[in-house]
């Protein structure tokens, strides 16, 4: 078996599926699309069954625009709301068992590095706060300590939204939920601090209030994960059902939470910064 990528035999492109042709001719396969071009190119994300007006959906949509090479990316997720949209993308999706997403991603990334030596393949874990901070916690921490080269994106809706509103480790202290009627008794877990302690190369905290910023943060995280080490993005993606936010107010809520306690934050290691600068200079040299 050849170690090269599979390619379509010349002349047979017209027999490929409509979605594939659209993504190559009018979409982000093979060329980087910008957030400002949204609406006029075919997107990686398709129709999906997530709730109307969900901030997590908006964040996932922007993430897909930010991916530097969607055609060379593999997504890993687990039970939770996010996978409802992640399975509807034109990107291979692996449904990890609850708790093992980052362990699966570690093995996959190492395997891909052996199999595709001349083509960078990106592995991106996208799961909820329950999947990463509670149930998957040990696999997440160990993948960071081992400096595995992939991106972990936490879709932090601060609740188990899929199963009826139980509190998670990432729920704010005192939050009243259907299955936490007396309010949560403990503080929100400091995943950013834990990521710093375990030596993650690039850490970002953000809300989907600024589309361009979301796309650029995802791009940086994936690029750094290719060469330097683990990267982590923690995104506030409110659950408008469990927190009873009317859909027209979803982004107002995101702005309010952003100004109160979820402001944009970026922690980048010196090595990662030097790598990003080297990409920028090589791009400018090409121009």
């Amino acid at each position: 078996m050849s170690f090269k990528n599979m390619t379509i035999t010349p002349g047979w492109e017209k027999y490929m599926t409509k979605e594939y042709v659209d993504l190559v001719e009018r979409g982000p396969y093979g060329k980087q699309k910008k957030v400002s071009e949204m609406g006029s190119f075919k997107e990686v994300l398709e129709e999906h069954p997530m709730c109307a007006g969900c901030a997590m959906t908006l964040f996932i949509r922007l993430t897909m625009v930010g991916l530097p090479n969607p055609e060379h990316t593999i997504l890993i997720g687990t039970a939770g709301c996010g996978r409802l949209a992640l399975t509807q993308t034109s990107i291979p999706f692996i449904y990890g068992n609850y708790g093992d997403t980052n362990a699966v991603a570690s093995g996959l990334k190492r395997g891909l590095e052996v199999r595709f030596k001349d083509q960078a393949k990106d592995v991106v874990v996208m799961a909820g706060d329950g999947g990463l901070a509670d149930i998957g916690f040990s696999a997440v921490m160990h993948s960071w300590f081992r400096k595995e080269r992939f991106t972990t994106i936490m879709l932090d809706n601060e609740v188990y939204g899929n199963t009826g509103g139980q509190e998670s480790g990432m729920t704010e202290r005192g939050a009243l939920l259907k299955m936490a009627p007396k309010g949560k008794l403990f503080d929100k877990m400091d995943m950013i601090g834990l990521a710093q302690t375990s030596g993650v190369a690039y850490i970002a905290r953000l809300t989907p209030t600024n589309p361009t910023r979301v796309a650029s943060v995802v791009r940086k995280a994936v690029m750094i994960a290719r060469e330097v080490g683990p990267t982590f993005i923690q995104a506030y993606t409110s659950c408008n059902i469990e927190y009873a936010i009317p859909t027209p107010k979803v982004l107002d809520d995101a702005r309010e939470i952003e100004s109160k306690r979820y402001g944009f934050m970026e922690i980048i290691s010196d090595e990662a910064k030097a790598y990003l600068d080297s990409i920028d200079t090589s791009k400018k040299a090409k121009k």
Partner: protein, 94 residues
């Protein structure tokens, strides 16, 4: 019946801010016609969340998007029927 977002293209084409296309949670739902410089809605994908109305009214301050009952719309654009063909969007879409 249900409400879908409807964009007043006369107002939209004067501004070309494209903010609604970036903030819609649904992919390829608010589309953008580069020739006519206006956004328009694929009604088969719109879930009626009204986020775009808030964006157009409060952030862009253009007031071009309204929620309209689907039965009150005469000509509608449906992405599943038309396919993703930006070259055929000629500014004639409702």
């Amino acid at each position: 019946m249900y409400l879908v977002a409807h964009i007043d293209q006369a107002i939209c084409s004067e501004t070309a801010c494209r903010l609604c296309t970036q903030y819609c949670p649904e992919a390829n739902t608010i589309l953008y016609d580069n020739a006519a410089k206006t956004a328009f809605v694929a009604v088969d994908r719109c879930k009626g969340c009204e986020i775009c109305v808030g964006i157009c009214d409060d952030l862009a301050k253009h007031h071009a998007i309204k929620m309209i009952m689907i039965t009150d719309l005469k000509d509608t654009f449906e992405l599943s029927k038309e396919g993703f063909r930006p070259e055929s969007w000629t500014g004639q879409h409702p």
